[in-house]
Amino acid sequence: MSEVPEARPPLVTPVRVVIAVCLIAPFVAMLWVGSYAKTDPAFIGIPFFYWYQMLWVLISTALTMTAYKLWQRDQRGRRGGAE
């Protein structure tokens, strides 16, 4: 997606990079199907393919939550600025 600046103070900060990584990570992990298309190791009889993806539901929740917290802090720091 094209995030074009709209006249704002420093757009890229370390915190924002971390937020972006948190939001992009699920795409890399889920779209790289070859990395998890295998049966072993199984978990309680469920092949790796299935439990790994369901585990990513939890991981991506944690990542989104982190992004949310960081974003809130970022915004608080900028209150009164352009945003």
């Binding site: 006249a7 699920p26 779209l31 199907v33 295998k38 299935y50 991506s60 989104t64 992004a67 949310y68």
Partner: protein
């Protein structure tokens, strides 16, 4: 398997349906607003819904016949390939997080109620707004069709009509009943009925999910046995696999990504999101919603359990209802069927109302009758919501019902083509309105032709619209048509934008300004309650 009517299950099913119907009609009186005949009242429940109900409604988008019938059926028939729904829903959350708060802000600043409103305001283009509205209405139809197939599957397994050797009337009886109930329902009480029923529906669904994913695997001897039975079946059939083979991985990834990009373009998802109280609520909720994905994953595994338990149906859509009938005592099977049935009815109602509102606001009022009275608007909306359902019925009757997930994927091909205008517009004003329109047309035409050329793998009689995957030009792998069309769409949009800017083609008037996209409740000029769907004639 089809040994007559299951009396107890049917009794319980009818009981819940009657209960819900009574609630539906009572809903018309619930928190009644001033004017009965206004579109706002019928189509948006008077907009007096709090965050709670809004999110129940949004949950209604996620737990549909798609979750309960189509995805497990795809797993039952093809194995791993059907599991793409899980990464799909995982990818939805970062996407929501990134762009929906901006949409919320700009909509609440300018009183936009639909995506078409926003596109017109941003690009000053009635043509583009019309394209977005038409696409939304068209794409919603197959999605509703999927819900009808879900209700039909349940009725079929209970022994009401259906079967392949009976005459056309008996064969399609469950479908006609499903259609009749849905139509009567939305026509009489608008959005209030589904909102109220959403509580019953979600409660029923949670009970059924909890029981199904704990009780059935235990009874079947654990996941080891379930997966080895599935593996045997796929090996013997020579089709399907429990792990995506390399040749299917492109398809898997493109289906997941394409579906994720498409979900929040649908009119009904946008309506639900815009009704939340503040932009922060949207972000906060994205951190809770993934629970839905986990449930979806567990429900998907029911497809394998159906194989293990020996369910043998030629129409995979019947696999899960059949599994419930085989595994549960009759009365609980009835509860489960009611959960699926109501779980399909509610979203179908919400979707058809959202599509009808879109027509009334962005086509009827903008192009046909700008000075329509509220009574006329409500009348048109009700009529269109009926027509949308008839459209859905046409999809069901003409397409292969045994791969119902295709209905949703076909809708996705179309709705995805509105992404560049909408999401692009949220972040940048760089795209030229004519380029966006040309890109949209390219995507729509390519997507429709490519889907038209796919013959059904399971039904030799159906030569067109039999699937949603085709070879990606230039890459040679098989991928989701919707995503290929989307990439073409973006390419055309970008190239033409350069050309049009070089030619100095007139840009539309942008009525928004950058600060509108980050405003939150409490900021100046932000209306927490959006105006009624019909008050926007001012721009």
């Amino acid at each position: 398997m089809k040994d007559g009517v299951n009396g107890v299950a049917l009794g319980v099913f009818i009981f819940f349906f009657l209960a819900v119907t009574v609630m539906g009609f009572l809903a018309a009186r619930w928190r009644k607003a001033e004017s009965e005949a206004s579109l706002d009242e019928w189509g948006l429940g008077g907009r007096s819904f709090g965050t709670w109900i809004t999110w129940f409604l949004l949950g209604g988008d996620l737990y549909t016949a798609y979750t309960f019938v189509a995805v497990p059926a795809a797993i039952y028939a093809a194995g791993a390939a059907g599991f793409f729904a899980v990464p799909y829903t995982i990818l939805v959350y970062p996407l929501i997080f990134t762009f929906l708060p901006r949409l919320w802000s700009v909509s609440h600043r300018h009183g936009y109620v639909t995506t078409s409103d926003f596109v017109r305001g941003r690009f000053g283009s009635k043509g583009l707004s019309l394209a977005v509205a038409v696409t939304g209405i068209l794409a919603t139809m197959p999605y509703i069709a999927l819900q009808l197939v879900g209700i039909q599957a349940v009725l079929d397994v209970m022994g009401i009509g259906g079967g392949t050797d009976s005459n056309w009337f008996v064969k399609d009886l469950p479908l006609l009943i499903a259609f009749g109930v849905l139509a009567a329902y939305t026509y009489s009480s608008g959005l209030r009925a589904p909102a109220l029923i959403a509580f019953v529906k979600d409660a029923l669904i949670y009970i059924v999910i909890a029981v199904a994913i704990i009780y059935i695997p235990i009874k079947l001897g654990g996941f080891d046995d379930i997966f080895s039975a599935a593996n045997d079946k796929f090996t013997k059939a020579g089709a399907g696999a429990i792990v995506s083979p390399p040749a299917a991985q492109w398809t898997y990834a493109t289906l997941a990504l394409g579906s994720a990009l498409a979900l929040f373009m649908y009119p009904h998802s946008i309506t639900a999101t815009l009704s939340s109280k503040s932009r922060e609520v949207i972000r906060r909720n994205t951190t809770i919603l993934p629970l839905y994905s986990l449930m979806l994953g567990l429900l998907a595994l029911l497809g394998f359990m159906a194989i293990k338990s020996g369910v043998d149906v030629t129409n995979p859509q019947l696999a899960i209802p059949q599994l419930f009938e085989d595994m549960f005592p009759s009365w609980f099977a009835g509860v489960a069927f009611a959960a699926i049935g109501i779980g399909a009815l509610v979203p179908a109602a919400i979707m058809s109302i959202a599509a009808a509102n879109l027509f009334t606001r962005n086509i009827y009022k903008d192009f046909i009758k700008p000075d329509a009275t509220p009574e006329q608007e409500t009348k048109v909306s009700k009529l269109v919501s009926l027509l949308v359902k008839v459209g859905a019925l046409v999809f069901v009757l003409t397409m292969d019902k045994t791969v119902a997930i295709n209905f949703q994927l076909l809708g996705g091909i179309w709705i995805l083509q509105t992404f560049p205008a909408l999401v692009g517009g949220l972040f940048t004003r760089w795209f030229h309105r004519w380029a966006l329109l040309a890109g949209w047309a390219t995507g729509m035409i390519y997507g429709t032709i490519a889907a038209y050329d796919v013959a059904s793998p399971t039904n030799p009689g159906q030569k067109h619209f039999g699937g949603s995957n085709a070879e990606i030009p230039g890459i040679g792998e098989i991928g989701y048509i919707g995503l290929t069309a989307f990439v073409l769409n973006v390419l055309v949009t970008v190239v033409l934008t350069f050309v049009l800017k070089a030619l100095k083609a007139p840009e539309g008037v942008d009525e928004t300004n950058p600060r509108d996209y980050t405003a939150d409740a409490g900021d100046p000029g932000v209306e927490v309650e959006l105006p009624p769907a019909t008050a926007g004639a001012s721009h």
